[in-house]
């Protein structure tokens, strides 16, 4: 493996700034890495070598001209295929968008381009971000770099695995119920779900608009913060985006990495742990807590009684919004079109045939669930009650913030499960997100950082949560934990992963 791909993004920036390496070299190194291992991992649905190298050249030229460059300029990045990329197929892991080439860039993609981050390609995901294993992709699953027979988490398994397998130093994900954090946990990487509104959603193909949030994925806390700073901020095209400046996330990460968490009040969510959680996951969690306490943080138990209803509420609100957001895939304007096998070809029959053929089973399940929950006569009992639960969960958080600065829990109850293991048991699959979902319902930020390897030798995640707009706390706690753990391990967790066997990629279809 080219040593360049082993560096952190921050280290890459140092070498770029000192002209020891060029962005073209760096980008090429990652393209080569993708070429050699992505046949085994399948993190990417599509790579864009020419485009990425051209962007890298532009970054090098800008740097050579002495331009004042944004911090990550020249560092390549992978983008989840749920974000619109102008001129580049954006499938959302679905057959129905197999041929959709957006006419516009998502705001975050635009920001990447403006900041000179070459886009390596689009990463695999559960169809329309619905799933916790990336097995629901219409284009085949992604494999966990730690064990190719296991899931990389989901829905953003592609972004997490790409970063975990050193195919990219950075990636963008989206998190509706844990789609950034749970994959980070099971692949030994770092993922952040920013405060709702902290990052523009314009161009993020919506699953559940009131829960979706774009966020950074990387192998360490500082890189995640650096990327957060690039993509964050108000966007007039997303009226739900916050007017505040991006929180001081990079400063907070550096503070944490320096070991400064003295006096920080940490609350352990009683309801997110214990029964149903894998022993090794709990052990690593407790050890992490002890480390933070050793650095001067105070730890106490906090109860959030309404969290037990979070999963239920989530599986009413999310499908309700999804059923409406996914209505537009009707063959009338873009995407695939399937004519009915029999009977007259009318708009309605084409819509039906296309949606039947174009959507996978999990997407259909959620559309049906949501359509039902919003129906006249059921609305109050389902959607209405779920919104009440949402308010209760927000109140639990509000009460907690009166006692502590951050709340913590294991990110996911288990380490990566085997591919296929939960595919026929949706409820078991949904439970993978039991600890990540309350965050989305409350609109607050959350981070997952590696806490070590569980008894099965697979990565486990440590989750920290902060009040809305206080994203900086996450990076401080995350940085401190990461520094303390790496001290113990003698380097990053990812370095402990086995080398991935070289396997050439299946030739991808050409764009469009």
């Amino acid at each position: 493996m080219n040593r360049l791909t082993r560096l952190s993004a921050a280290e890459m920036v140092t070498l770029l700034d000192s002209r020891e390496i060029s962005s073209v070299e760096l980008t090429q190194a990652h393209l080569d890495r993708i070429e050699s291992v992505d046949g085994a991992i399948h993190a990417f649905l599509r790579t864009l070598p020419e485009v990425a190298l051209a962007e890298a050249e532009a970054a090098d030229a800008a740097r050579a001209s002495g331009e004042d460059l944004p911090e990550l300029a020249g560092v390549p990045i992978a983008v989840k295929d749920v974000l619109a990329t102008k001129g580049l197929t954006t499938t959302c892991g679905s057959k129905i968008l197999r041929n959709w080439i957006p006419a516009y860039d998502a705001t975050v993609v635009k920001k990447l381009r403006e900041a000179h981050l070459p886009v390596l390609g689009k990463t695999n995901m559960d169809e329309f971000a619905m799933g916790s294993s990336t097995e629901h992709s219409a284009y085949g699953p992604t494999h966990n770099p730690w064990d190719l027979d296991r899931i990389p988490g989901g829905s953003g398994g592609g972004s997490a695995a790409a970063v975990g397998a050193f195919e990219a130093p950075l990636a963008l994900g989206s998190d509706t119920g844990g789609s950034i954090r749970q994959p980070a946990a099971v692949t030994g990487t770092v993922g952040v779900k920013p405060t709702y509104g902290g990052v523009s959603r314009y161009g993020l193909v919506a699953m559940a608009s009131s829960l979706d949030q774009v966020g950074p994925v990387a192998r360490n806390v500082l890189d995640t913060a650096l990327l957060h700073a690039v993509i964050g901020g108000h966007d007039p095209k997303d009226q739900t985006s916050l007017n505040d400046p991006v929180p001081p996330v990079v400063e907070a990460a550096r503070l944490g990495l320096a070991g400064d968490v003295k006096g920080l009040r940490i609350g352990v969510v009683q309801e997110l742990g214990g029964s149903g959680f894998q022993a090794g996951v709990m052990d690593r969690f407790q050890e992490a807590l002890a480390l933070l306490e050793g650095l001067g943080a105070t730890v106490r138990q906090v109860s959030c009684p309404s969290f037990r209803y979070a999963l239920g509420a989530y599986y009413l609100i999310m499908p309700s919004e999804a059923s409406s957001n996914l209505a537009r895939f009707d063959a009338m304007r873009y995407g695939i079109r399937v004519d009915p096998k029999a009977g007259p070809v009318t708009a309605e029959s084409v819509m039906g045939a296309t949606r039947e053929a174009g959507f996978g089973p999990e997407v259909k399940r959620r559309i049906i669930l949501g359509t039902y929950a919003l129906s006249a006569g059921y609305y109050d009992a389902y959607y209405g009650s779920a919104q009440k639960v949402r308010t209760l969960i927000q109140r639990d958080f509000e009460a907690a913030w009166e006692q502590v600065d951050v709340l913590v829990s294991p990110t996911s109850p288990t380490t990566a499960f085997k591919l296929g293991e939960k595919l026929d048991d949706p409820l078991a699959m949904y439970l993978a997100d039991v600890a990540t979902i309350p965050v989305n319902l409350a609109g607050i930020p959350g981070i997952s950082v590696p806490s070590g390897l569980a008894e099965d030798g697979l990565p486990a995640g440590f989750q920290a949560l902060a009040p809305a707009r206080a994203d900086a706390f996450l990076y401080q706690v995350g940085g401190a934990l990461e520094a303390a753990l790496e001290d113990k391990w003698g380097g990053p967790l990812a370095a402990q992963a086995l080398e991935i066997p070289t396997q050439s990629r299946v030739k991808e279809a050409s764009n469009g």
């Binding site: 006419a103 516009y104 193909v205 919506a206 009131s210 009226q239 209505a327 919003l374 129906s375 006249a376």
Partner: protein, 505 residues
């Protein structure tokens, strides 16, 4: 077509209850949720973007100016303006909504609990309760191609123009309108006319019914006449029909009348009115059934998660209140008093759409009677011939005031004025310019007139004799001859005076 009752007969047995929904398309520069131009008549699908095309990932952003228009309309309709209101999604699959949901308002409209006083021809005033006025985006325009009717049934295919998709609308919904009896059709028409007038005064819409920028849906139901008329209001409402897109004032009256007659015939024969939407047919002046409410869709409304609630500050609302125009009805009363028009003249001017033109003409210096005479006479005829409305004519109020001042100065007479106006309408310039170019000025030079008179008298000595003999009325023939000789450019009164002076009776 079902049998119809006579209208009067229907009214003897049943009491009509009316409800009207009016969609007002706002004339904001951009659409409701994106920055596309809000134009009528641009080439199909040329005013579109990711947002109004509903492309995956695109998000709506509320047009502040549209909210402002909705608030001003609400205030003009004497509504409360919500301190907090939201948008909702109305979900239904149809190609004319690009997202397969329409962003609208549902249970918390921006304007609510208002009223509008509507005056009928004879001066009777009805107060129409306004339940709500809410904001929404318009759907795209479908054109069904092939088939005989232009409707979707039997069409070969449908073309969709998303230019109209996402343009801002305000929908005004009345409370049930009871007690108008036989005047219900007239009241329906007068209400729509009043809203149209209000919207024009506010300047928030083009208000062209023919282009669909104002569209009305008419709800009508009948209930039995109570034996004791004072207890009529206690009789429960009957099932109603909703006649869609009745797109002229005249058609409003006709559609209500038709529904009264149709429903009366149905009910009287022991049948039942089906709660349904109906289509209005201009050609046959009748309605036909559309979608029945029994098979109506469940729109699965829920709060639009892509938009924040709208919370107009009270200070802003009060600021907007100060921008309201004088209410059209009050303005009419004030102008009628100032101009000394009879009720009939005033109503005529209003119905012809001439009120603002007359006001502007008076403003430009003409007498009210003079302004009225031109706009309601010569110009109305010209508009009629050209198939346009008065405002569509090339003559401006300033032109008409100019014409009047030429008459007042004695530079042209009535007959010449008509020729000048003809020139103005032909685009030859202002009245002054036409006058010069066509050489139409009145001959006011007495010497020139006397010359013409002498010639006429010489040509008709017998008439001259009669006049000398005291038959003054015989002077008419000489006047006529002089007018002919001067090609109408003489002042006939002055000619008569000169003849009589000359022959001194």
């Amino acid at each position: 077509m079902a049998d119809l009752f006579g209208f009067d007969e229907a009214l003897e047995r049943f009491d009509p209850v009316l409800g009207i929904e009016i969609h007002v398309e706002l004339n904001t520069k951009t659409k409701m949720f994106c920055s596309c131009a809000n134009n009528f008549g641009a080439p199909p699908n040329s005013q579109v973007c990711p947002v109004c095309l509903g492309l995956p990932g695109a998000m709506p952003a509320v047009n502040h100016k549209a909210v402002e228009s909705a608030i001003r309309l609400g205030l003009a309709l004497n509504c409360e303006v919500a301190e907090h209101c939201t948008f909702a999604r109305k979900n239904y699959f149809y190609p004319d909504v690009s997202k397969d949901y329409q962003i609208s308002q549902y249970d918390d409209p921006i304007d609510f609990d208002g009223y509008l006083d509507v005056e009928l021809e004879d001066g009777a005033v009805f107060r129409i309760g306004i339940e709500r006025a809410h904001m929404e985006e318009d759907a795209a325009k479908n054109t069904h191609v092939g088939g005989a009717t232009g409707r979707i049934q039997g069409a070969d295919y449908t073309l969709v123009d998303y230019n109209r998709g996402g343009t801002p609308l305000v929908e005004i919904v009345t409370r049930p309108i009871e007690g108008a009896g036989a005047r219900t059709p007239e009241l329906a028409r007068a209400y729509v006319a009043a809203v149209r007038e209000l919207v024009i005064a506010l300047g928030i819409s083009d208000a062209r019914m023919d282009q669909g920028s104002i569209r009305a849906d008419v709800n009508l139901s009948l209930r039995p006449r109570a034996s004791d008329p004072s207890k009529q209001a206690q009789v429960p409402f009957g099932k109603r029909s909703e006649t869609k897109n009745v797109n002229s004032l005249r058609a409003i009256d006709k559609a209500v009348r038709h529904e009264v007659r149709r429903q009366a015939a149905l009910l009287a024969s022991g049948g039942a009115v089906v709660q349904e939407t109906r289509h209005w047919h201009e050609d046959t002046e009748s309605t036909s059934p559309g979608r029945s409410k029994e098979q109506a869709e469940d729109y699965r409304y829920f709060p639009e998660p892509d938009l924040l609630p709208i919370e107009p500050s009270r200070a802003w609302v009060e600021e907007l209140r100060l921008t309201l125009p004088e209410p059209p009805a009050e303005r009419r009363k004030r102008l009628q008093g100032a101009w000394g028009f009879t009720d009939f003249e005033m109503r005529d001017a209003v119905n012809a759409g001439a009120l603002d033109l007359i006001a502007a003409t008076v403003e430009a210096g003409a007498s009210p009677a003079g302004a009225r005479k031109w706009w309601m006479g010569e110009l109305a005829r010209a508009a009629n011939e050209r198939g346009t409305d008065l405002a569509g004519l090339p003559a401006t109020p300033a032109d008409i005031a100019g014409l009047e001042s030429l008459i007042a100065a004695g530079r042209i007479n009535d007959k010449l004025a008509r020729q000048v106006l003809e020139g103005v309408l032909a685009g030859e310039g202002t009245p002054e310019e036409v006058l010069t170019a066509r050489g139409l000025e009145v001959v006011s030079d007495d010497a020139a007139l006397l010359e013409a008179i002498d010639a006429a008298l010489a040509a008709q000595p017998d008439i001259a004799e009669k006049i000398r003999g005291g038959k003054v009325q015989a002077a008419g023939a000489i006047v006529g001859a002089v007018m002919k000789a001067t090609r109408g450019q003489a002042d006939a009164g002055r000619v008569r005076e000169l003849i009589i002076e000359k022959l001194g009776s």
